[in-house]
């Protein structure tokens, strides 16, 4: 299977704008999981795609006040039908722009999606204050998905590092549904930052857990586990990490035939390098600051191998690793 063919199976759907109700929103103050009723996005979405989310009701004329705080809530049009002197739609100021978050779980059947995110700045902090029952504003699904798992050959290896883990839940589910043999390496600094690992495991795929400090799973880096799996997958190798792939069968099934990775860019660069050496097709999901998320601003570019730029939001976020120059973010 050539990379080019795999590339052609990456899904890019027509995106929509959807106001989505918060179903659950749980967190420990830093890492949050948000479940949304978003049937239109859920119906169209594929693993690897993302949404642009805004915690305030932006750009919708005549919407009630700025804060999604439940009661008491202000209204531009009063209960008696009179109009307040206040502007009918206060523009969102803080945050001003939407924030990109990867789809962690996609449940078209229930019309639901889930997102897992870390509070790092103003946008994610404002998002973290939105209570269940409130509405958030989405554009999605955006970007190109991972390639169709049914199109590739051999065992699919999913590698998630830190907040790169959540999208691997959707990826794992897609692969499982497509009948592709799959294994996941999920790594983080400490056990605390393995958010999304539970969602990946829930799909039934075998998971190798790695942390920098050994507070969960093996101590080390995802690349240590990757080296082992690549080594292991070569017929000649004797050093097999049995626990890692309990359901692996014999023969080519066992060989790592494709890698999908999401995480910090230095990790992606390391994964890319190893895959290139081993001749394994590798897809990486990259991140950039985004203004629009749908291709209009040219703000999210990643350097293209051979010169020029690609748009992360439209040509990616999932790229064949050899197509992009990593390390710039």
């Amino acid at each position: 299977m050539t990379m080019r063919t795999l590339r052609q199976t990456q899904v890019q759907a027509g995106w929509v704008r959807e106001r989505a109700r918060v179903l659950t929103h749980d967190g420990d103050g830093e890492i949050f999981k948000l479940t949304l009723a978003a049937p239109a996005v859920a119906r169209r979405a594929t693993a690897g795609q993302f949404v642009q989310i805004h915690p305030l009701p932006v750009g919708l004329p005549g919407q009630p006040g700025p804060a999604p705080t439940g009661q008491p809530r202000p209204a531009a049009v009063m209960s008696n039908g009179q109009r307040s002197q206040a502007s009918p739609r206060p523009a969102a100021l803080d945050p001003l722009l939407r924030r990109p978050l990867s789809l962690c779980e996609i449940r078209p059947e229930a019309g639901e999606i889930s997102l897992i995110y870390r509070v790092v700045g103003r946008g994610t902090r404002a998002l973290s204050a939105v209570p269940p029952g409130a509405m958030v504003d989405l554009l999605g699904p955006l970007g190109r998905s991972f390639p169709d798992p049914r199109a590739g050959q051999g065992r699919l290896l999913l590698i998630g590092g830190g907040l790169g883990i959540p999208p691997m839940a959707a990826a794992a589910r897609w692969a499982v549904q497509g009948g592709r043999p799959v294994v996941a390496i999920l790594g983080a600094r400490t056990a605390r930052y393995l958010a999304g690992a539970r969602e990946v495991a829930a799909t039934g795929v075998p998971v190798i857990t790695v942390t920098d400090d050994g507070s969960a799973g093996e101590r080390g880096l995802v690349t240590d586990a990757l080296d082992r799996l690549i080594g292991m997958s070569e017929p000649a190798s004797g050093d097999r990490a049995g626990a890692a792939a309990p359901d692996r069968g014999p023969g080519t099934e066992d060989r790592i035939g494709e890698v999908w990775a999401c995480g910090p860019e230095p990790m992606l660069a390391a994964v890319k390098e190893r895959c290139a050496e081993a001749g394994i097709p590798c897809f990486v999901s990259v991140e950039r600051f985004m203004a629009c998320g749908f291709g209009a601003c040219l703000g999210c570019t990643v350097p293209k191998a051979g010169g020029g730029y690609l748009k992360t939001c439209q040509d990616g976020p999932v790229f064949p690793a050899e197509e992009v120059v990593l390390g710039g973010f």
Binding site: P61, R89, P90, A296, G299, G307
Partner: protein, 321 residues
Amino acid sequence: MGSESVRPAGGSGGSAPDLSVRLFGRTFKTPVWPASGCFGYGREFAGVMDLSQIGAICVKGTAIEPWDGNPGIRVVETPGGMLNAIGLQNPGVDHFLTVDWPWLQERGATVIVNIVGRTVDEYAAVARRLEGTGVAGLELNISCPNVKEGGMAFGTTPRSAAEVTAAVRRATTLPLIVKLSPNVTDIVEIARAVESAGADGLSVINTLMGMSIDIRRRRPHLGNVFGGLSGPAIKPIALRMVWQVAGAVKVPVIGIGGIMTGEDAVEFLMAGASAVQVGTACFVDPRAPLTIAEELAQFMAEHGYRRVGDLVGAARLRGAL
């Protein structure tokens, strides 16, 4: 308390307000246009709106050849605004004419082409390529670094601004709008110079030069160090410049800078703008040019303004200056 509405003499007629504006000898359906660089060539927006309903689409700054743009991080949010250092990445005017323009025409879009260049000749060359194509006008982006003057933007001195305006004026019969840079001591002086050099209209303003620092990584956020500040944060500065320029020139002024709502658009019209452009707002709400036009119509209906022209300069009639 005590903030009663002042209604214009016209009174509130029963019929819906007329949003159309006549400028440069042509009628535009609405006075709320997407700003250059914030709407691509329209393609990304076609899925969520009818492009023919937009007054005019100001497409991305377009050069005679494709430009790559800047390396590194290109956008970052700031308080109430954003910085961009795209570096005018664009596919070049030939790509526009062969790929985008036919596509836009099929959709019935009215298009103003924002043109960029590194020399006066490059600007003029783009203008010549667009002659007779049916685009509604040219918008000259004079914030590009003037190669001959060592990188200072064309728009920062009256002389260089007038020079490039005059050259493009000679190269085109299309309506010529010059988009002014706000990074100047005296914008009125520049406005007068380009008006004298043949501009049919002025777009006020482009972005303000700014920067921000990633204090954890101890380096500027943007790969280019500096970037252009846009969004609500700059609205007061943009509005002041529109007020100043509209009071100093005879040609129509198009107000730009931080417009997010219909009421923001009203502010610019009342300051003297004949139309407005919305940039950053399109990233948050892709339908912003239509949403804002609807809100403008609603404001007009509620306050008894029948035509957009009734709003233009309305805040100048009383008050000082």
